[in-house]
């Protein structure tokens, strides 16, 4: 029952993150959407570890990896944002249409 509750919260958070990543025009706001989605994934991992395999610590290990991915995403995203801001003076993704192939 608590597992289902956790999964429900995770699903709704993932949906909100998906909406944010698709609807925002600013690079930093898009990254926030991705962070919300990764948070939902972490919640699911912890819930599965707690209720299905509390003796298998690969589950917690996986959560640590997802936390690393979150930090990486922030580092790479801000690196790109800094480069883009220096080159073009803004990180509005509506103006990044020249990246289109």
């Amino acid at each position: 029952m608590t597992l289902t509750l956790c999964l429900l919260v995770g699903a709704v958070l993932f949906g909100i993150g998906l909406y944010g990543a698709f609807s925002q025009t600013n690079l930093v706001m898009i990254m926030m959407g991705v962070e919300v989605m990764l948070g939902a994934a972490m919640l699911n991992l912890v819930a599965f570890w707690r209720f299905l395999h509390p003796q298998a610590f690969s589950g917690q290990m996986f959560v640590l990896i997802v936390m690393t991915v979150m930090a990486l995403e922030a580092a790479v995203g801000f690196g790109l944002a800094t480069a883009r801001f220096r080159a073009k003076g803004s990180v509005e993704m509506e103006e990044a249409a020249e990246l289109k192939g």
């Binding site: 699903a11 698709f22 690079l27 912890v46 917690q60």
Partner: protein, 165 residues
């Protein structure tokens, strides 16, 4: 007994602030709302008896979101949200995709028989088992993650200080 209540409470808090992140027009507020989402997730971790991960989540996200707030102020044209600038596009299709994603997750959560009901080790036992996992079987993964994050830090800084014509 208290566990579902705590999870439900922190879950509602997390969802509420996640909505706030994309509704407020002030950048600092949206960074702080994201911090609140992550703190609520840390609360859920603590409620689920994953003490180490809960505390780690609180510490990591507090620093990460503070840095994010600084970057938001640096890179936004209107960080205070005073000009009521439009910051969204393709709202309808994005909302549709988000709703579909949430619906898919909810369907899975409700209709799959997940089983469960196992008991967890004590906090001390958990720390011991996690340490054995990290330093034993998952050593290579852990080390690789560390090196990867170091490479990303150096690469991101290199990209950021490179000269642009």
């Amino acid at each position: 007994m208290g566990q579902p209540i705590a999870v439900g409470f922190f879950g509602v808090v997390a969802i509420w602030f996640a909505i706030t992140v994309f509704r407020t027009s002030s950048m600092v507020r949206s960074a702080l709302a994201l911090l609140a989402v992550m703190v609520a997730l840390g609360g859920i971790f603590l409620a689920l008896e994953a003490e180490f991960l809960g505390v780690l989540q609180l510490m990591m996200m507090a620093s990460e979101m503070t840095i994010m707030a600084i970057f938001m102020v640096m890179y936004m044209m209107d960080p205070g949200g005073l000009g009521q600038m439009e910051m969204t596009h393709q709202k309808r299709s994005a909302g549709l995709v988000g709703a579909l994603g949430a619906l898919g997750g909810v369907t899975l959560a409700v209709f799959v028989a997940w089983g469960g009901g196992a008991t967890v080790p004590t906090p001390t036992g958990q720390l011991r088992l996690l340490g054995l996992e990290i330093m034993g079987r998952s050593m290579l993964i852990f080390e690789t993650a560390g090196v990867t994050i170091l490479v990303a830090m150096i690469a991101a800084t290199a990209v950021a200080i490179a000269r642009w014509r």
